[in-house]
């Protein structure tokens, strides 16, 4: 403590030195402070920031995709189907579940929650959707599945064979799921389904040479997805 006071004193006594930047004792500390600042901000940026940015939410109850996939004939589309008008139904509604889940099946607690809290009360399950794109994006599933013949897993990964739902991480600023930016905070990806950002769409559109203009506006580029 006292040595610090000394230094302060010295500093005030030799202002010219300070201004000229020729202080003899400052050098190593300056580097040290640089390093402290550097490391601290790296820690904040890489470790703390992602933790603060996303809030963890759990789904209303757990769901086993693998189990269901084994029971159905038509793969993912058995439940995530296309409506007659070509629009994509997305997450199933009670209506699709109710045939089998009128009564509690098996022992699982999640099943009991589902049947008692939702089926019995005719309340739709408020699922949190990992892959929901921002509202400003126009994304037709039909064009990708039927037109481009993409597989579900190209964008959604191996969800179909998962046995439980991962926690939903919500971006506190945008309100959208972490899965859009991707798990990797730096934005690196190794699989096509690791991120769902605009660049990822653009990458595929670029390689496949998609310049189909928007039906509504008749224009290319941004307007293909942003109407």
């Amino acid at each position: 403590m006292s040595s610090q006071e000394d230094k302060v004193k010295t500093l005030s006594e030799t202002p010219a030195d300070c201004q000229a930047g020729q202080g003899s004792g400052g050098g190593p500390f300056i580097v040290l402070f640089f390093i402290i600042g550097f490391v601290a901000s790296l820690v904040v940026g890489w470790v703390i920031f992602p933790k603060v940015l996303y809030s963890q939410k759990s789904q209303p109850f757990d769901f086993n995709h693998r189990l269901h996939l084994e029971q159905v004939d038509d793969g993912c589309q058995s439940c995530h189907f296309f409506r007659e008008d070509g629009s994509f139904a997305g997450v199933p509604k009670l209506e699709q579940c109710i045939d089998c889940h009128e009564d509690v099946q098996g022992e699982s607690e999640d099943e009991a929650v589902f049947v008692e809290q939702y089926v019995a009360k005719e309340r739709e399950v408020p699922w949190l959707i990992y892959s929901r794109q921002p509202n400003c994006v126009f994304f037709p599933h039909a064009a990708h599945i039927f037109g481009a013949k993409l597989e579900c897993r190209t964008c959604h990964g191996d969800t179909g064979t998962s046995e439980s739902l991962k926690p939903y991480e919500e971006n506190r600023i945008t309100g959208y799921s972490r899965d859009i930016w991707g798990r990797n905070i730096a934005g690196f990806k190794s699989n096509t389904w690791d991120r769902m950002k605009m660049d990822d769409c653009a990458q595929c559109h670029e390689t496949a040479g998609i310049h189909d203009s928007s039906v509504q506006t008749g224009r290319d580029a941004c307007f293909v997805c942003h109407k």
Binding site: G21, G23, S41, G45, C136, T174, I185
Partner: protein
């Protein structure tokens, strides 16, 4: 360790460098941009299955077919129904905004009983049973005094099963006092009665006309069935038909017409009669019709003799040659038609003389019941209920004269004269008044007097879905479903040439504890009991509707409308029906003095005239938020309504653009903003209808002024209709 400024700076630089090498800035920038492009507070419709349900719009008399786009259970958009004979896929701005009426904050959610003073806004929610019992008790009380005529009801119109149910209730109850709100259709109906001796309505075969002479009709401002007329206007453009707009102000219609004749306000009849004079004088009339099927041509000639183009020139301000020129062009066109009804034609639109003069023009050119002309369309006759059994009290009550005098004496041509009753207080005010689907406290002229008379009525019941001015001043409110929640027949008149019945069907569950008005009437009759209950034997309104529309029901359910596309008006044949051109009451009507606006010209040197705009709803329905946003700032600036005034007049009265002044008339005054506009005639001030609400929500209430508070009513001596088209006025400094 020495912490000096350099160390601190170095810490910051290190921090900056580290931050730049971390994902934080890039990720934050990205998130913020996503956030700004998707403001979380912007409402976004839920995702879900999208589909359409069809129904009929009842927000104006137009009767358009609409389809409502829904996402799961939520209605998200209204569009015009493509196959509908009235609007063929079109929809107007009011129709488009209908969902805001369904979901908006002004809905009344449950029956209400007034607990504070009238108009104070203190209500107590009551159950339907309590509310109906209270009303039934009141009605029984009045009846027990042997004066059933002291109960009255006021509706927008008497059309359809709901109108008929109310009328039936009044009949079994014993009151002749069934009132409807004024409309230009009243004048047409009276004119048909006088000329052809029939009860029918007038339709116009607009699409096939090749020369349209419009006496002030706001064809592009919401006249008739608005979307249909818009479409007809496109047809006229395609077919190179001529549209001549006769109107003192350059309205949208005038601006888009082929020719605009700016005449002095109120001189329509003079012009029409002078044109008739020219047509007769130059032998341009269609003699096959006039000689073949008209009566008393000589009488008409005598009357017309006074109406020379020179006389009209003085009245209208047009040169006599102009009068002659257009009379000749009109008569020489192959399918001409003359139209009457100022603005939207949904207010009492002037004297019967004006309507009659325009109708005579149609007769002279043989446009009556001819392609492209004015058609006589029979009233809908699908409601064929058996006459109810009346008891002693009812029979006696029905014998007594109507409180408004309509239908007898000099008011014979009229069927309802609510303005006489509520505005001028001419008749005996009722003890119980039931008001449905109209807002008389807002939309009747001479607003102040109407309110005073209204206050004298001991018991007022409103069936409104919205807390409008009338509901706010009622004693009891029994809210009905809005149109998107109810089942009902919508027989369309509004100048359609062919009969069309639309089916209004629920596209969504009722949002609040409201009921269908038909059910309310049936339940009320049951509560009144005795002969009233006996006259309403239907299980419920739906049963009544299905039974009534029996043979048309399947079509209605399947297509959403019933349409007689083959309809043609009765052809004129020898020995059958004649068109009377003059004589008797007709002479009286044609020779009545022209209506002069009230007020002393010395004190009030200007004339104030209200105008209609397609962007301002001015009757039962008030402007929803979407629509009020579309009102330009030359009409409403901030909270001030703009009074349109000619620059020359403004100079004379030393007012300038944007200045705030008092607009004073013999019946009221209001603060207005001056807007200089070459489009209006010198000496005439224009203020729009549809503003100045005190009720409804923050989007509408308190904006501008209600022009009805500044306009008086003037009784047409020949019919009793309110004929005031304007009033004397002056401007003063605030």
């Amino acid at each position: 360790m020495k912490v000096d400024r350099r160390s601190f700076l170095s810490l910051l630089i290190g921090g900056a460098a580290g931050t730049a090498l971390s994902p934080l800035p890039w990720k934050l920038t990205d998130d913020l941009s996503i956030w700004t492009q998707n403001w979380p507070w912007t409402p976004v419709p839920p995702r879900g299955e999208s589909y359409y349900e069809t129904t009929t719009c009842t927000l104006c008399p137009g009767g358009c077919g609409i389809k409502v786009r829904k996402i799961d259970q939520r209605c998200v958009k209204i569009e015009g129904a493509d196959e509908h004979p009235v609007n063929k896929g079109g929809v107007c701005i009011l129709g488009l905004s209908g969902l805001q009426l369904l979901y908006g904050p002004t809905r009344i959610r449950t029956p209400l009983k007034r607990v504070g003073k009238r108009g104070e806004g203190k209500w107590e929610p009551v159950s339907w049973d309590q509310a109906l019992t209270r009303l039934a008790d009141k009605l029984k009380e009045v009846r027990a005094q042997g004066a059933p005529e002291k109960a009255a009801c006021l509706l927008d119109s008497s059309r359809g099963t709901v109108g008929h149910l109310f009328r039936r209730l009044m009949t079994v109850y014993g009151s002749p006092n069934f009132f409807t709100m004024p409309s230009v259709e009243d004048a047409y109906r009276a004119a048909l009665k006088l000329t052809q001796g029939i009860e029918a309505r007038v339709g116009f075969d607009l699409e096939n006309a090749d020369f349209v002479l419009s006496f002030g009709c706001g064809l592009l401002d919401g006249w008739g069935s608005p979307v249909r007329v818009f479409k007809a206007n496109s047809t006229w453009k395609e077919n190179h038909a001529t549209v001549v707009q006769i109107e003192p102000r350059l309205s949208n219609t005038a601006a888009k017409a082929d020719h605009w004749l700016a005449i002095k306000p109120g001189s329509e009849a003079e012009l029409a009669l002078a044109m008739a004079n020219v047509i007769v004088g130059r032998n341009l009339y269609r003699s096959e019709f006039v000689d073949g099927f008209c009566e008393n041509f000589q009488g008409l000639k005598r009357i017309l003799a006074l109406h020379t183009p020179e006389a009209a020139a003085a009245a209208t301000g047009l040169a006599p040659e102009v009068v002659v020129k257009w009379a000749v062009e009109f008569a020489r066109a192959s399918r001409p038609v003359a139209l009457y009804g100022r603005g939207q034609g949904r207010t009492a639109a002037g004297s019967l003389r004006q309507c009659m003069a325009v109708m005579l023009l149609n007769a002279l050119v043989g446009a009556v019941n001819r392609a492209g002309g004015m058609w006589t369309v029979p009233d809908y006759d699908y409601i064929g209920w058996e006459e109810p059994e009346l008891d002693e009290v009812a029979r006696a009550g029905l014998e007594r004269p109507r409180a408004d005098g309509a239908g007898s004496g000099k008011y014979t041509p009229a069927s309802s004269l609510v303005q006489r009753l509520l505005g001028s207080g001419a008749g005996q005010l009722p003890e119980v008044l039931m008001v449905a689907r109209c807002n008389p406290l807002y939309s009747l002229p001479e607003n102040g007097a109407v309110k005073d008379n209204f206050d004298k009525i001991p018991f007022v019941v409103s069936f409104s879905s919205f807390m409008d001015e009338t509901a706010a001043n009622a004693d009891l409110v029994l809210p009905e479903h809005v149109y998107l929640e109810r089942l009902e027949d919508v027989p369309v008149t509004a100048g359609l040439s062919c009969p069309v019945i639309g089916l209004c069907q629920p596209v969504t569950e009722p949002r609040w504890d409201t009921r269908s008005l038909g059910d309310v009437v049936i339940a009320l009759a049951r509560k009144i009991g005795d002969s009233a209950a006996a006259a309403f034997q239907w299980d419920d309104y739906e049963a009544c509707l299905k039974e009534t529309l029996e043979d048309k029901w399947d079509t209605l359910e399947e297509r959403g409308f019933w349409y007689d596309a083959e309809f043609r008006p009765p052809a004129w044949e020898d020995g059958e029906g004649k068109f009377r051109l003059a004589g008797g009451k007709l002479d009286e009507v044609l020779q009545a003095d022209e209506i002069v606006p009230a007020g002393d010209p010395a004190k009030f040197p200007l004339i104030l005239v209200p105008y209609d705009s397609i962007r301002l709803a001015h009757d039962y329905i008030g402007d929803p938020p979407f629509m009020i946003k579309a009102v330009g700032d030359d009409v409403l600036k901030g909270k001030d309504v703009c009074v349109q005034i000619n620059p020359a007049t403004a100079r004379k009265f030393a007012v300038s653009e944007g200045s705030i002044v008092q607009l004073i008339t013999p019946v009221g005054k209001a603060r207005v903003r001056v807007h200089l506009d070459e489009a209006v005639m010198p000496g005439v001030l224009y203020v729009p209808r549809g503003l100045g609400h005190t009720a409804y929500d923050a989007y509408l209430a308190g904006k501008g002024i209600n022009v009805n508070a500044l306009i008086g009513s003037l009784e047409d001596p020949a019919s009793g209709f309110d004929a005031a088209w304007g009033i004397r006025a002056k401007l003063a400094k605030v």
